[in-house]
């Protein structure tokens, strides 16, 4: 464990499958887990489509990386934020999104779902509070 813990934010604004951004972001989050930082993942704009339930890519011949999101809690990701206005513009609600659980293996503290829908003003604040933003 490094002495300095920084707040890392991974900010996602692209839909899955149409471009490689979503998959690349997920790869970087998983790699970044090795650095023991305070990590959050933010979904804005078309990025909210990454979290939809029931993705099934067998007919398009691409890897379905949606199940990997459900493991993020095991990769140091403490918080997942979704912009409410982005959901609303797309006719979506939190019901349409996957749930992601989190557990601290040392303290056995558990959180059933770390996906939190927040207002745009809060998105801006959280960006300000971050030490580093990784943009996708």
């Amino acid at each position: 464990m490094s002495e300095v813990v920084k707040k890392f934010m991974y900010l996602n604004r692209k839909a899955p499958y149409g471009t490689i951004y979503a998959w690349e972001a997920l790869e970087v989050v998983l790699i970044g887990a090795a650095f023991d930082q305070d990590v959050s993942v933010m979904f804005l704009d078309d990025g909210v489509y990454q979290l939809t339930k029931g993705q099934d890519t067998k007919a398009i011949g691409m890897k379905n990386f949606s199940p990997t999101f459900r493991t993020l809690g095991d990769y140091e990701v403490k918080k997942i934020y979704v912009d409410r206005a982005s959901l609303e513009a797309r006719g979506l609600t939190q019901e349409d999104l996957v749930e992601i659980a989190w557990e601290d293996f040392e303290t056995e503290e558990e959180i059933e779902n770390i996906v939190e829908v927040i207002d745009s003003a809060r998105v801006g604040e959280l960006m300000n509070e971050s030490d580093a933003i990784f943009s996708f």
Binding site: K14, A15, P16, Y17, G18, T19, D45, D46, Y49, T52, K53, G54, Q55, D56, T57, A59, I60, M62, N64, S66, A89, R90, G91, L92, D96
Partner: protein, 102 residues
């Protein structure tokens, strides 16, 4: 000669759909695929735009791309037809030309 217009970009990120709907003449066919399928969903900010176009254009959406993104046919705006890859080929064959709004 009729044109099949294809849109593969999200309507929230690019103006491909907007331009397509602006320039496609009455009776043309429009196929939404890849990230373009998001335009076919009910309850979005672009639904009024798409619904208006349904009065004068035939709109199709590619099923496999919808399924990949987690949406079933029930989420689609009424009047839009879901097609599979064979249907995509048929549309391309039925229309003399294809204009891809990339």
């Amino acid at each position: 000669m009729s044109i099949l217009h294809t849109v593969n970009k999200s309507p929230f990120e690019r103006n491909a759909l907007e331009s397509c709907l602006k320039f496609a003449t009455d009776g043309s066919a429009v196929l939404l695929f890849e990230d373009g399928v998001y335009a076919a969903l009910k309850g979005t900010a672009v639904e009024p735009h798409v619904s208006d176009a349904l009065g004068r254009l035939k709109v199709y959406v590619l099923g496999p791309d919808l399924q990949a993104r987690g949406f079933s046919a029930e989420r689609i705006i009424e009047g839009i037809s879901v097609v599979d890859y064979a249907g995509f080929v048929d549309l391309a064959a039925e229309n003399g030309k294809v204009q891809a709004w990339l």
